[in-house]
Symmetry: C2
Subunit: 148 residues, 2 copies
DNA sequence: TTGAGGTTGATGCAATTGCAACAATCATGT
DNA sequence: ACATGATTGTTGCAATTGCATCAACCTCAA
């Protein structure tokens, strides 16, 4: 019950949470309907494809993907099991590991993007004009400033 | 790769998802730090407190809370185990069940709100002015139109 | 009335997540 | 060199989630 908090703000908060949840649900459903793995898998392969040598340190990947570290460890286990990525020791740091994208992983990224992109378009972008997007981005930037 | 989808839109989408995730993470952390149960629990008790007789049909509760039905079934199991809510048979429909808030449940709602409210204020509302909130709400309404 | 089809809510089982703790290694100050 | 403390990534175990399916009940048309 902080003094600063208006009822309107709480309502917007609730709608914000709910909207994101529904959207994500719809997108995940599209992926599944296309026989594709969940969104985190895409996040991982995308970050790796984007990375300079197709690989990232575990901790750097973890910082980019929204996942707890122990959680990422096991996701990588599964993805490595499928041959999508591989763990590569780090020369300068015997504790560390690179997660390196494999060819299969690159293909997965290419295969997922059309479905994912279409899903973003359909559920999100199609309903907003350029001004909306700019405004939303501006607002998100304010929030991001605090939660980097 | 739909033609409609601009790169900017994808970026905003990604930031949208990420912002919501970080915010939710921060809020959940606040709740946990205060020794309180997770947000879904609050959602449930709040909906029940708000409901006319302090109770809702399982399916109606499920529609309000963002949870799959099997998931809600078991959440209610746990909450009922803690004496927060109770299952009450529905006279007119022998299949159904009301979920009724118990006194303990009302107290939990009262106990969680200050922490949750403060968390919303701190992580969300404090960084947005009234115009931002109005804009955000307008944009969310557009999205909500498609994903009710 | 009856039976086909839909709704409601629960449940067995597998997969995933969260928590707490861990071993191994590195960085730093002395 | 070496002890102390921080970082990196993993793991055992418990809790939660997802999936598929279920039983029980309702609805409605023939």
């Amino acid at each position: 019950m902080p003094r600063k908090l208006s009822g309107a703000a709480v309502d917007v908060w609730a709608r914000f949470i709910r909207a994101e949840h529904r959207l994500l649900e719809a997108v995940e459903a599209d992926l599944k309907a296309a026989g594709l793995p969940p969104l985190v898998w895409y996040d991982v392969v995308l970050e790796l494809v984007r990375a300079p040598d197709g690989r990232l340190r575990h901790r750097d990947l973890q910082a980019r993907v929204l996942l707890a570290k122990y959680n990422l460890s096991r996701l990588i286990d599964r993805m490595a099991g499928d041959g999508l990525v591989a763990r590569v020791p780090v020369a300068e740091d015997a504790r560390g590991a690179y997660i390196a994208i494999a060819e299969t992983g690159r293909r997965l990224q290419k295969r997922m993007w059309p479905v994912y992109g279409r899903s973003i378009a359909r559920h999100f972008a199609a309903h907003l004009d350029e001004g909306d997007l700019a405004e939303l981005d501006r607002i998100l930037a304010k929030l991001r400033a605090v939660h980097p």
